[in-house]
């Protein structure tokens, strides 16, 4: 009984029906994802349609989310299984060798997209001419940074990611006497001057003069949430006050405890690197007599003490720097051509598509050669017969 179910499942898994239905579903998903980008932005649409197992729909009639379509991850997974089953099932003859390699290449391609979908981290690095930067920043996620700035030559950074703040409660900062207690958290908020007669939760810093109104979180690629929170700072068993922290506030706020000076700021989530970049020169060339960009390039000094390395690298269009598992590529610029923005991508599977491309191309060529030989042979036989 079990055996028949298993064999029926196996024959379903390797069937052409599944292939065709899944390919058709994938086409629909790709189309929907493309159209949705106009409203949701690329990242939003990709997360909703391609990188999810189920596409959910919100309808005003029912209070909960309704599954409306299988998501890209599910379709991709089934397709990958179908592909694997089919490939294993294919006759291992030389005549099928080309197709074998083609489908193997496709499996690698799927694997590559899965790795990218699950593990790829996108960050960026903004750097001004002459500045030295040793961290990459997230595009959207925030962190609350508590920095001990007592020593002018050395900053001691303690940061709390946005996700941790949103859970609320008490957060200890190891290595410091400071403890934070989150009083209220806003994933996105609008800040304005507090009208007379109203009071704020905040008791210290600029907070007491600011009105915080919660807003729905941003959906498109270009918007950044104004993450805000009321945080009570506790140290040495007593409260130092409740502070309003938000990335919408400009300068960091500060407090002093036992002779040490601390700053408090909400900023884009940073990841510190064991090496540092210094921007020596940024170029933005245009074609003569026009403002059509011809080239953007950043001349970077890479200093890596762990490798005893210090060298210059030129990053320009179509020529990224791959360094320590990260790829740095020229993405944007600003501040009258003195600021260069490098996008940073970390994807452990970045090589897989290259492997796949080679496999599929070889496979198709082999298959065509086999088919061509067969048809020539047939023609020869016809002539002889």
């Amino acid at each position: 009984m079990i055996k028949t179910y298993a064999s029926r499942f196996w024959s379903l898994l390797k069937s052409f029906q599944v292939t065709i239905v899944m390919l058709a579903l994938l086409m629909c998903l790709v189309l929907l994802c493309t159209l949705a980008q106009v409203e949701m932005g690329t990242a939003g649409a990709v997360n909703a349609y391609m990188r999810s197992f189920i596409v959910w729909g919100d309808f005003s009639l029912v209070p909960f989310r309704v599954p409306v379509f299988p998501g890209g991850a599910l379709v991709g997974l089934i397709l990958a299984c179908n592909l694997t089953a089919k490939t294993l099932d294919m006759k291992r003859t030389w005549a099928k060798a080309g197709l074998w390699v083609v489908h193997l290449g496709l499996i690698v391609l799927f694997a590559g997209e899965f790795v990218a979908g699950m593990m790829q981290v996108d960050t960026n690095l903004s750097i001004e001419v002459g500045q030295t930067v040793n961290y990459v920043s997230s595009y959207k996620s925030m962190e609350l940074a508590v920095i001990d700035v007592t020593d002018p030559s050395w900053d001691d950074v303690h940061s709390v990611p946005e996700t941790m703040l949103s859970r609320g409660g008490v957060i200890t900062l190891p290595g410091t006497p400071v403890t934070l207690s989150v009083k209220k958290f806003f994933p996105n908020a609008e800040l304005s001057n507090l009208p007379a007669g109203q009071t704020s939760l905040a008791t210290a810093g600029v907070g007491p003069g600011v009105l915080v109104v919660e807003r729905p979180t941003a959906t498109t690629d270009n918007e950044v949430n104004q993450v805000s929170a009321f945080v009570e700072v506790l140290a040495g068993g007593r409260s130092l006050g409740v502070w309003l922290v938000s990335n919408a506030l400009g300068a960091p706020q500060g407090f002093v405890h036992e002779g040490r000076a601390y700053t408090l700021s909400m900023r884009l989530l940073r990841q510190y690197l064991p090496y540092a970049f210094t921007l020596k020169q940024f170029r933005h060339d245009v074609y003569p007599g026009t403002d059509i960009p011809k080239n953007f390039s950043s001349l970077i000094q890479v200093v890596n003490p762990s490798r005893k390395e210090s060298r210059e690298v030129l990053i320009f269009m179509n020529q990224p720097l791959r360094y320590e598992g990260k790829t740095f590529y020229q993405a944007s610029f600003g501040k009258n051509d003195t600021l260069s923005v490098l996008s940073v991508v970390e994807n452990p599977g970045w090589l897989l598509p290259y492997v796949s491309c080679v496999l599929v191309s070889i496979g198709l060529l082999v298959h065509f050669a086999i088919v061509l030989r067969r048809s020539l042979k047939r023609r020869q036989e016809k002539l002889e017969g």
Binding site: F16, Q17, T19, I20, L23, A24, L26, M27, V30, L31, C33, T34, L35, Q37, V38, T42, A45, V46, M50, L109, G112, E113, A116, Q120, D122, V286, Y287, P288, G289, T290, I292, P293, K294, N295, F296, M317, N318, Q319, P320, T327, F328, Y329, A331, S343, V344, V345, N347, W350, P353, Y354, S356, C357, V360, S361, L364, F368
Partner: protein
């Protein structure tokens, strides 16, 4: 018969001769060597090109054609631009601005007439303030969200502004000319005039001086400013002043002498510029893609007639014409590659030309293999259609504009872009064959399984071909993206479009392999391939999102919708029940 054997060659040869006559230089206009003046190299849009290209593109943008008839004479782009720059009072009276939009016509107080509405600059003059005001409102709206009126008024303003800039490039319109400017260099009111000239100049005509950087071309205004502030006098100013004076004084002999002087000077300063400009002028004049379009149409008509009348004469003729058209188009593509120093596909315009080229080359091969006229018919029709599309895309101006920084990579343009475009060609040709199959099934009365079989083999072979190229092209595109943006796949609309083509072709092949569809089913699916390809080629540009949205266009939306609808109808025809296919029992067989 010997004659029929040679017919293909004769027809092809005649078509080629016709195409060559296009490239012959025109005669002098009123005794002036205007064509020679059009050969002068200038810097505009970031590249050195002949003045002729500027004149043609400007006239195309303003007038929608490259020439017009005025007071009983044909006026070409070179003569028009000379009048515009040196005798604006003459040019201002020529009705060259096309206005089709009813609301814009209403704005300038004119009525829609039977023909297209052409207006001169003088006629628009009283309404310029209003046009500028309305256009400023329209330009505040992003192009995707403009109403029809807003697009039309913004477009009219752009054209008037282009005209105005050309009018004030070599001398300020209404001023006595360059010779007078040179005499009054030190005058108190000269500097602001020079500044105006510098600011309005549409192109830079004076080659870089010896020792200056190679891209340091100067406009007349820049050279006058330099001379007026104590710098050296550019040696090109003197012959330019003579040209100016001779043209205004209606003295062809003096004009032609001064032109020779100017050319000698350009040759001395920039030895290769004149030769390069000359080549581009030949390309401009030959209009190879226009000539190709006409030849393809002739080939299509010949093959259509051949099915009803004298096939032994007309089929080889049609094949010869298709071959000639392909040669013309190939030469045109070669010219572009040499002129630009880039692979054939660099923008939407050239992608349309290249898709057409791929279709006709594939069609030629198929016709050679099967010899049943279907290769010729489908290839000539779709080749013709793609060149019409290219003709419309080319109306927006220079088709050899410089590549933006991210696209500036000959390696990837040659591999990714060319492969993916060949994939488009294949998918379209398979669709075209499917359409031919569907129509034929309804037209002929006698069943002909052999031809059906041949058509179905053709379509299948081409779908395999298209799948290979679109897949490899898409993956190469991913690798380019990984090189330049750090990610292989970003679900960008254009990437998704390419993926849709790959998926659809894969579905067709797997459905055939599994036996779910037979000949007719494959043909219906192949026609749908046309829809998918058209959407991923043009449709995604209309969304206006993503990294590939450089080819944005709004007017083509209805054309695209019409194309998709027509394909849906053809799918219906192909899918129509069997009783429509076979002659009914009892009907006369």
């Amino acid at each position: 018969m010997n004659f029929t054997k040679h017919l293909a060659w004769i027809a092809g040869g005649l078509a080629l001769l016709l195409a060559i006559t296009f490239a012959l230089p025109p005669g002098k206009a009123r005794g002036f060597d205007v064509a020679g003046y059009g050969n002068l190299p200038i810097l505009e849009g970031g590249r050195v090109k002949p003045l002729d290209s500027v004149a043609r593109n400007a006239l195309l943008v303003i007038h929608s054609r490259q020439g017009f008839r005025h007071e009983g004479r044909n006026i070409g782009p070179d003569e028009w631009v000379l009048d515009l720059m040196y005798r604006p009072n003459v040019a201002d009276a020529q009705p060259i601005f096309v206005i089709d939009d009813l609301e814009v016509l209403g704005l300038i107080g004119a009525k829609q007439t039977k023909n297209r509405n052409y207006f001169s600059f003088n006629e628009l003059g009283p309404h310029l303030d209003e046009i500028q005001k309305q256009a400023a409102n329209a330009q505040a709206v992003t192009p995707q969200k403009r109403t029809r009126f807003q697009s039309a008024i913004a477009n009219l303003f752009d054209r008037v502004f282009l005209y105005y800039r050309l009018r004030n490039t070599l001398q300020l319109a209404g001023s006595p000319g360059l010779a007078w400017e040179l005499q009054s260099l030190g005058a108190a009111d000269a500097a602001p005039r020079h500044a105006d000239l510098t600011q309005l100049a549409h192109f830079r005509i004076l080659p870089p001086l010896a020792g200056a950087p190679p891209e340091a071309w100067q406009s007349i205004g820049q050279a006058l400013t330099a001379a007026g502030t104590g710098g050296p006098l550019h040696p090109g100013l003197a012959p330019m002043a003579k040209l100016n004076a001779a043209y205004v004084a209606n003295n062809p002999a003096a004009f032609n002498t001064a032109l020779a002087e100017m050319k000698t000077l350009v040759n001395g300063l920039k030895p290769d510029a004149l030769g390069h400009a000359n080549r581009e002028v030949v390309y401009n004049r030959a209009q190879p893609f226009f000539a190709g379009m006409i030849i393809f149409l002739a080939a299509f008509l010949a093959v259509c007639v051949s099915w009803a009348w004298k096939p032994e004469f007309l089929r080889p003729t049609a094949f010869g014409l298709l071959f000639a058209g392909t040669i013309v188009q190939t030469l045109g593509l070669f010219f572009r590659i040499i002129l630009q120093g880039r692979p054939p596909v660099t923008n939407l315009y050239s992608s349309a030309v290249f898709v057409g080229w791929g279709i006709v080359v594939l069609g030629l091969i198929i016709e050679k293999m099967y010899r049943n006229g279907f290769g010729t018919a489908t290839a000539s029709l779709f080749g013709f259609a793609s060149l019409i599309v290219a003709q419309h895309l080319g109306e927006s101006g220079d088709t050899m504009e410089m590549m933006r920084a991210v696209l500036d990579s000959n390696f990837w343009l040659a591999t990714h872009v060319v492969t993916i475009t060949i994939g488009y060609s294949g998918t379209f040709l398979a669709g075209a064959i499917a359409i031919a199959y569907a129509l034929r099934k309804h037209i002929i009365t006698v069943p002909d399984p052999e031809t059906d079989r041949a058509l179905s083999d053709m379509a299948f072979g081409i779908i395999c071909f298209a799948l290979f190229f679109s897949f490899v092209g898409t993956v190469l595109g991913g690798i380019w993206a990984d090189q330049s943006w750090g990610r292989f796949w970003g679900w960008d609309p254009k990437e998704n479009g390419a993926l849709l083509i790959v998926l659809w072709n894969a579905i067709i092949l797997h459905a055939r392999l599994a036996g779910y569809v037979r000949d007719r089913g494959i043909m219906v699916m192949a026609i749908f391939g046309n829809v998918i390809t058209a959407l991923s080629w043009f449709g995604v540009n209309m969304l206006g999102v993503g990294l590939h949205s450089y080819g944005f266009m709004d007017q083509a939306f209805w054309a695209l919708l019409g194309f998709c609808t027509s394909q849906a109808v053809l799918m219906g025809i192909c899918w129509a029940p069997a009783r429509f296919w076979e002659p009914r029992p009892g009907a006369r067989a």
